[in-house]
């Protein structure tokens, strides 16, 4: 149908075409040869451009799919890449930053067995069962027994590398008294706006969906509908919600993590941004990495996953990814982490519950979001 527009464009150009036809017979036969050559050259050049050069397949080059903020210059990515490349000697780490976290799973599913990725980094507990069912992942070989997690870990495939609690972060200057529960948020005047993420593309977005579901159960759909007037916009990923919109003052509250204020306290040295403690409790997210079964670099991939939970890599988690590390960093843990809110109740669905419910819960959310 796009082409109907093109037909119209044609009409407009047909006017200039009439003049083309008129002048056609005036063109001399000869003297067009150099130009003809040029046109052929143009064709050949294009044909050349079409042959997409395939990337060289290096056995020591590890391709890792992750989300944007992980690889940002202030994120943990650069330090982890440098540290691991130093440890392995001759390998290179290629982070591929996808535009959102849940997008990582979609992408490897879309690419199927021909995916160029060796490791996926940035899925979470909620997506584990779905990712495992795809059959694209394989055992990590990482010993997770000594990790300091708030839950017991019993997956052989997924390697947890940090965790945190979903929370609304607010700007104390724009919003001195933030709501203290979902009920209060819904009941607040309509001009209290929040920015959230799309549960289909972003793990925090999915986290909020599950958080609401675990608080409200069967009432979640109507609560989503009641929340609609407060939602300024739904972004695809966390980065644009937090950096581009929230920190630019577009809304006083954004869906993020209870740990986010630590970054502002340590790096910006300000207490301006705080997480709002909700009496409903907070939803736990454990972020995970995994090895792809089709990867020809299994050994290097496992080596990387082991490095990821080691003290060296974990040291860049608290301020790089602004999450709790999964190993005890002792004095290396920034002091601001003691000043963060601690959830009154920890909420979490099992990966299997999320797998079975996700589709219909997302539909519920879509319906509530389109109904308004």
């Amino acid at each position: 149908m796009q082409c109907l527009r093109q037909v119209i464009i044609f009409q407009i150009f047909s006017m200039s075409l009439t003049s083309v036809q008129n002048s056609m017979f005036k063109t001399p036969f000869a003297a067009s040869f150099p130009r003809q050559l040029l046109s052929i050259a143009l064709l050949v050049a294009t044909a050349g451009a079409m042959t997409v050069a395939s990337a060289t397949d290096d056995q020591r080059s590890l391709t890792i799919y992750t989300y944007e903020s992980f690889t940002a210059e202030w994120g943990p990515g650069p330090a982890i890449k440098a540290g691991f490349e130093e440890q392995c000697g001759d390998c290179t780490v290629n982070f591929v930053a996808l535009d959102s976290s849940a997008g990582i799973l979609n992408r490897v599913q879309l690419e199927g067995k021909s995916s160029p990725a060796d490791v996926v980094l940035g899925l979470d507990t909620n997506l584990m069962a779905i990712a495992e069912d795809s059959g694209l992942l394989t055992e990590s070989g990482v010993d997770t027994d000594d990790l300091t997690l708030p839950i017991t870990w019993n997956s052989d495939i997924f390697v947890p590398f940090d965790y945190g609690y979903f929370a609304f972060v607010y700007d104390t200057e724009a919003l001195p008294e933030p709501p203290a529960s979902f009920d209060e948020l819904i009941a607040a005047p309509d001009d209290l706006k929040i920015i959230i993420q799309d549960p289909r593309t972003s793990t925090p977005g999915l986290g909020l969906l599950l958080w609401m579901k675990s608080v409200y159960g069967d009432q979640a759909a109507e609560k989503w509908q009641a929340l609609q007037p407060h939602i300024l916009t739904v972004t695809k990923g966390w980065s644009e919600a937090y950096f581009s919109l929230f920190l630019n003052g577009e809304a006083p509250m954004v869906l993020s993590y209870s740990t986010s204020p630590a970054y502002h306290m340590e790096v910006d040295e300000t207490d301006r941004y705080q997480a709002a403690p909700f009496s409903d409790g907070h939803y736990l997210q454990v972020e995970v990495a995994a090895l792809l079964a089709q990867s020809p670099r299994q050994e290097l991939g496992r080596e990387f996953l082991n490095y990821l939970v080691g003290k060296n890599a974990q040291a860049s988690i608290p301020l790089g990814n602004v999450m709790y590390p999964v190993t005890d960093l002792q004095e290396q843990l920034p002091a601001s982490f003691d000043r963060l809110i601690s959830p009154s109740r920890t909420l979490q669905f099992t990966p299997e519950e999320v797998r079975d419910g996700r589709k219909s819960w997302i539909n519920e959310w879509l319906e509530a979001s389109t109904g308004g």
């Binding site: 037909v7 464009i9 407009i12 002048s23 036969f29 079409m50 535009d99 799973l105």
Partner: protein, 547 residues
């Protein structure tokens, strides 16, 4: 050239290619559709809402575009010697050729939350108006379709014979009476088909809804197909949506064929000559029919307002593309690789499209002239228009299903984008080349045959000099359209392969507006350059001027 190809060879190759690029993906899609639980699909309230919203926004956009186009067309018709009138009319066609996503950026720069309009409103203490969602979609659709509708309506108004105007003056008819008895009478024949055309365009609108929709609240079927594939990895849903989209598009096409069939009611989008009087009438028959300063002010006001609507977004784009990020974006490797991808896609798609078009026409020319099988020839040519009923995202979904088991579709993204875009440009290429090809043959075929000039010699000495200009135009236009495409690249693009439209979309999506502005500027400039340079190289020195 002793080697002689049979006359049907080129069309057979072209038809085989077109069939492979359309029927195979369509087949793959329908096979997948066989396993869909249609009852569940039709009962899905989300889908119902998406379909309802698609129809609703298309309806509202059509109504707004037509309602605003009527006064503009009237004003242009009443004022044939309005200063800058020719320029305004040319500007109205500009909004049709610049890439959609570029125009969208301009619209955001004017109407967005931090746009020019908000700044002006802030001066008088008015809160910025809501923009993302339905308002933004409507503004953008009016931006694109009002000029189109105004030009077509103006065309019908200009076809009113001068005698009628003189008669109006002799009878002393009031402006209202003229409108009712003469002008409205003319326009109303165009309106049904025109409305249907705009409705179809808005109904399948992709780039606008995806960029300005602002979350799931405003989603059309076209965007929902994209989301089902790229967000949810829900192939079944994507196929179901694609089937629904195809069905609705086919019925809209059938409806428009019905409307076009009847000559009095029909709005023939192919044949309507868009001849615009230049405005230098010495003997203007409309002189004095709308007397007084009030009418003059109204006409001037309508024209200024409508011009402002079209010009300000482009102006805002130009102004904002010079900012603190300009140099860093220009030096950015992402931008540069996107630029080279865009050029590669544009040139390849243009060449493929023109090659397919020439191959088809070469054979149909033989069919129509030497074998005198006019009808058969036209039917063969019609196959080139197959994409008209196949929205690019439906085709893309089919290609995706077809190729996924065989290869990593993201690594062959550019090839797929080239394929889809060459098909999208084909109807248009055929239309440009059809008449010149036939003319060239009609005039000289017998002579050439008796002289035994054929094959390469015939092409080199007879066809090429006559066809180079239409060829240049076809190439240039196909290249420009492909360079601005977002549908295909949105489906197949990734961080590995980006074109400028995709990069612009992503930068807008992450609200990096300064970088987006520069990207939009580069895209606009490359489209203009492509257009001019191709015409210069292929078309010869005295190339067709762009309008």
């Amino acid at each position: 050239m002793s080697l002689r190809w049979p006359w049907w060879a080129s069309a057979t190759v072209a038809l085989a290619l077109i069939a492979a690029m359309t029927l195979l993906p369509l087949g793959a899609m329908l096979r997948e559709a066989g396993v869909i639980d249609w009852k569940a699909v039709t009962n899905d309230t989300y889908l119902q809402r998406v379909i309802r919203f698609s129809l609703y926004q298309a309806f509202a956009s059509t109504a707004l575009a037509l309602l605003s186009a009527i006064p503009v067309a009237l004003a242009l018709s009443h004022k044939p010697s309005f200063p800058g009138r020719a320029l305004i009319v040319s500007l109205f066609s500009l909004s049709l050729v610049i890439p959609t996503i570029v125009a969208i950026f301009g619209i955001v720069a004017v109407f967005g939350r931090t746009g020019w309009l908000s700044h002006i409103l802030a001066l008088v203490d008015i809160e910025p108006l809501p923009f993302y969602g339905l308002p933004g979609i409507l503004i953008a659709h009016v931006f694109f379709n009002m000029p189109l509708a105004a030009r077509i309506l103006l065309n019908s108004l200009e076809s009113i014979p001068a005698d009628n105007w003189r008669l109006c003056r002799q009878l002393g008819m009031s402006p209202w009476a003229i409108f009712r008895h003469l002008e409205w009478h003319r326009m109303k024949h165009q309106l049904p088909a025109l409305a249907l055309l705009i409705f179809t365009l808005c109904f399948t609108s992709f780039a606008i809804v995806m960029t300005l929709g602002g979350g799931p609240r405003s989603t059309t079927i076209e965007v929902a197909i994209y989301q089902a594939l790229r967000f949810d990895f829900d192939i079944t849903l994507a196929v179901a949506l694609a089937c629904i989209q195809l069905l609705i598009c086919l019925s809209l096409m059938a409806l428009s064929t019905l409307l076009r069939h009847d000559n009095t009611m029909g709005f023939d989008i192919y044949k309507a000559p868009l001849k615009i009087n230049s405005g230098t009438h010495e003997n203007n028959p409309r002189q004095g029919l709308w007397p007084g300063a009030a009418w003059h002010m109204t006409h001037a006001g309508v024209l200024l307002f409508s011009t402002a609507l079209v010009v300000t977004p482009l102006l805002a784009l130009l102004v904002s593309s010079f900012n603190s990020k300009t140099l860093s974006v220009l030096a950015d490797t992402t931008t540069l690789s996107a630029l080279s991808n865009t050029l590669a896609v544009a040139l390849s798609a243009a060449c493929l499209s023109v090659a397919l078009g020439l191959a088809l026409l070469q054979s149909t020319r033989y069919l129509r002239i030497r074998l005198a099988r006019e009808r058969v020839g036209q039917w063969v040519q019609l196959t080139g228009n197959i994409i008209l009923v196949l929205p690019p995202l439906v085709l893309g979904t089919g290609l995706f299903l077809l190729l996924r088991p065989l290869a990593d579709v993201f690594s062959i993204a550019l090839t797929l984008v080239v394929m889809i875009n060459s098909l999208m440009a084909l109807p248009f290429v055929l239309r440009i080349l059809d008449a010149p090809m036939m003319n060239a043959a009609h005039a000289q075929d017998r002579l050439l045959r008796s002289l035994g000039i054929q094959g390469w010699n015939r092409w080199r000495h007879i066809d090429w000099p006559q066809l180079r200009k239409p060829l240049a135009l076809a190439l240039a236009l196909a290249a420009t359209l492909a360079a601005g495409d977002l549908s295909a690249i949105a489906l197949f693009g990734s961080e590995r392969v980006r074109t400028l439209p995709l990069l612009l979309y992503q930068r807008m999506g992450s609200y990096r507006l300064e970088e987006a502005a520069v990207t939009a500027g580069i895209l606009l400039l490359s489209c203009l350059c492509l257009f001019a340079i191709i015409q210069w190289i292929v078309g010869g020195r005295e190339h067709a001027r762009t309008r």
